[in-house]
């Protein structure tokens, strides 16, 4: 390995120290078919300089959550309730103007597909310079110097020349690098990366992931890293939040969640993924069924219709009571702690080897 080592031994600060704090977030969209409860009572914290991974499948609400942090939902079609505190500032009730001051400055976002997320009509340089000029009130020249410096930092060859190129003249990986450079222009305290490598090839993905990690060391930003890929997250994040159908189902440090997962959905995700070093004679164990519609989500635990262990819980608890997610290391499941441990050791762990 390299000489890089993660400093994880320091105890996590507790209480109000967290830099971003989301409390009981609810996001609803009104559509022609009815009200979509995209996010339903979500709470999490991100510490300064740390990476929180959010894992979930499509429709789990992971992207919706992060667009609400930035305040990018259309207020005409969406309702957002709850609390989002960024460094003590409340964002849900913040005005457009206040949010504009924060976006691209204190918090920045990297989107999934850099081809559609960068404007085809303006040069990469201009798109990079814009936020810097706006937030720092600097001249065009200063913004250009900064942009060239950032392009170089993210590994774009000949940054002075490429400054004047358009996004379509960049290759896919280079475009995502430019996107990262753009997000880092104002040295944000919070960086939200929404599936930043999903559209990329695997060798390019590896470059970009390492780049993000190294840049985080240098810039000290907190990162919310959204992905559907547990492999990606295990290399990137300090803490992990597993989402299912608009709710958080499990939370903990990456090591805790991936080493001793406690929620049946996390078990399902892990055992449905083939590994490069797994046993080839072992069949994959998929999660039966498909994710629910958020127009009419199942009552109680939203995962219960697909859960293989709901019979182990007495009565109709799973189908009528929402399992709470405690603070800290926790899983939102009605199984008792002993049950979780026994099931994991007896039934799940053998599949993962």
């Amino acid at each position: 390995m390299t000489t890089l080592t993660k400093t994880e031994d320091a105890p996590a600060p507790t209480g109000p120290e967290s830099f971003l704090s989301v409390r009981d977030l609810r996001v609803q969209f009104s559509t022609e078919d009815g009200i979509v409860k995209a996010v339903d009572g979500l709470s999490f914290d991100v510490e300064r300089g740390k990476t929180l991974g959010i894992v979930g499948e499509s429709g789990s609400g992971k992207s919706v959550t992060n667009l609400s942090i930035l305040g990018l939902h259309n207020p005409r079609t969406s309702t957002i309730d709850g609390e989002i505190l960024l460094d003590g500032q409340e964002l849900v009730t913040a005005t457009d103007k206040e949010l504009e001051q924060l976006r691209g400055n204190k918090m920045a976002m990297i989107f999934q597909d850099p081809l559609t997320a960068l404007s085809p009509y303006y040069t990469v340089g201009r798109q990079l310079s814009e936020p810097f000029m706006k937030h720092r009130g600097v001249s065009k020249k200063e913004a250009k110097d900064r942009a060239i410096q950032m392009l170089e930092k993210v590994g774009i060859p000949q940054p002075k020349v490429r400054f004047d190129d358009y996004p379509h003249q960049f290759s896919g990986g280079m475009r995502q690098r430019a996107m990262i450079a753009m997000a880092l222009m104002c040295d944000p305290d919070l960086l939200i990366a929404d599936e930043p490598t999903t559209a990329l090839d695997v060798t390019v993905q590896a470059q970009i992931l390492d780049l993000l990690k190294d840049l985080q060391q240098e810039f000290g930003s907190a990162i919310i890293f959204i992905t559907h890929d547990l492999g990606v997250i295990s290399n990137m994040a300090d803490d992990l939040l597993v989402m299912y159908a608009g709710r958080a189902v499990e939370r903990g440090s990456v090591k805790e969640v991936l080493r001793t997962p406690q929620h049946p959905y996390t078990w399902g995700l892990l055992s449905s993924m083939p590994r490069l070093d797994g046993d080839i004679h072992e069949m994959l164990t998929p999660i039966p069924g498909s994710p629910p519609s958020l127009l009419t989500p199942p009552p109680g635990c939203r995962f219960h219709p697909r859960c293989a262990f709901k019979d182990e819980v007495a009565g109709t608890l799973c189908s009528d009571t929402r399992p709470p997610l405690a603070d800290g290391r926790a899983a939102a499941c009605h199984l008792t702690a002993e049950q979780k441990q026994t099931i994991f050791i007896d039934k799940i762990q053998p599949r993962l080897r």
């Binding site: 990018l72 976006r103 960068l118 404007s119 085809p120 814009e130 706006k134």
Partner: protein
């Protein structure tokens, strides 16, 4: 870019030639005999032969076509005088040179086209953009509603109403007419204002709807969201990021509309009794006046081709992906 324009111009010349050929052979191959048509009833065979001779119809078809096409480039001589290039021939009926007739009528058409376009671009695209920016507001509802109603009207409906209200019953204005701008700019403006405004009204309604729809589509683009995520204001994002992309469908339709208007706005001209290119084309076709029809056709085709090239240049200006590929 220059190479592109040269290539397109070369293509345009070939296309014009083909259009000429198709028009020509369709007429020649048609069932009517021009000589007997021109001669009228009670016509003696000798007279028909004379007319054939005079119109050059006795020559082989290929020769006739060659004479016509070469006349455009080099001019040609007719029994009753020289026709300078670009010579589009001599009308069978009036005996006037087709080019002169077209040039005589063109200012009317040009006034309608340019005046109308300026009006509907400013009001139509403007209203559409504001509507999209303030989506869901009262302003938006009014704009969408009225454009919906107006765009279902036609010039031959709206025109007479305007004439009745403004001219016949109140006498506020005079009947529309074309006065050359060089002679009397005020008269030109006043004389053409009713047709231009009526025509532009209907286009304005269409362009409002189109601009609004295309703007809303652009606002949903991911790169527009990225710009918002960078902290750019709604207004900035709207007029810098979304605006450009929304131009593409507008330019496309605008190109089609302008070139068809330059080829003659028949309904408008008829409604307001104006003598434009459109009327000329209709007359030529109805009287089977081959040189006139061909002339107007090729004149119109010329503008279609030029406007097409301009449209492509506009695309390249709007979208660097077109420019740099």
């Amino acid at each position: 870019m220059l190479q592109f324009i040269i290539r397109r111009l070369a293509g345009a010349v070939v296309t014009l030639f083909l259009i000429g050929a198709v028009t020509f052979f369709l007429f020649i191959a048609g069932p009517s005999d021009y000589a007997s048509l021109a001669c009228g009833r009670d016509c003696s065979p000798t007279r028909i032969a004379d007319i054939r001779e005079a119109l050059g119809l006795n020559l082989p078809v290929a020769t006739q076509f060659w004479q016509f096409m070469s006349g455009i480039v080099m001019g040609r001589d007719f029994p009753d005088g020289h026709c300078a290039a670009p010579c589009l021939g001599q009308s069978f009926y009036s005996g006037d040179m087709v080019w002169d007739t077209i040039i005589d009528r063109f200012p009317t058409t040009l006034t309608l086209t340019v005046g109308g376009t300026i009006c509907f671009l400013i009001f139509g695209v403007g209203a559409g953009m504001v509507s999209a920016f303030r989506r869901g507001s009262t302003l938006d509802k009014v704009a969408t509603g009225s454009s919906m109603v107006l765009s279902s009207f036609q010039i031959y409906f709206l025109g007479p109403i305007a004439l009745t209200v403004l001219v016949y019953s109140t006498g506020w204005m005079e009947d529309p007419k074309y006065v050359p701008i060089s002679e009397d700019p005020v008269g030109w403006f006043v004389g053409m204002s009713i047709p231009v405004v009526v025509m532009a009204t209907i286009f304005t309604a269409q362009y409002t709807r189109m601009a609004r729809a295309s703007m809303i589509e652009q606002l949903a683009e991911e790169h527009v969201r990225t710009a918002r995520a960078k902290g750019m204001t709604k207004k900035y994002v709207f007029f810098r990021y979304a605006w450009r992309g929304s131009l593409i469908p507008i330019v496309t339709v605008l190109g089609i509309d302008i070139s068809s208007m330059l080829g003659g706005a028949v309904v408008t001209e008829l409604t307001f009794s104006l003598q434009g290119i459109g009327r000329l084309a209709v007359n030529g076709a109805m009287t089977r006046d081959l040189p006139l029809t061909m002339g107007v056709m090729m004149f119109g085709a010329f503008f279609i081709l030029i406007v097409n090239i301009l449209t492509d240049i506009a695309y390249a200006w709007i979208d660097p992906r077109v420019r740099l590929s």
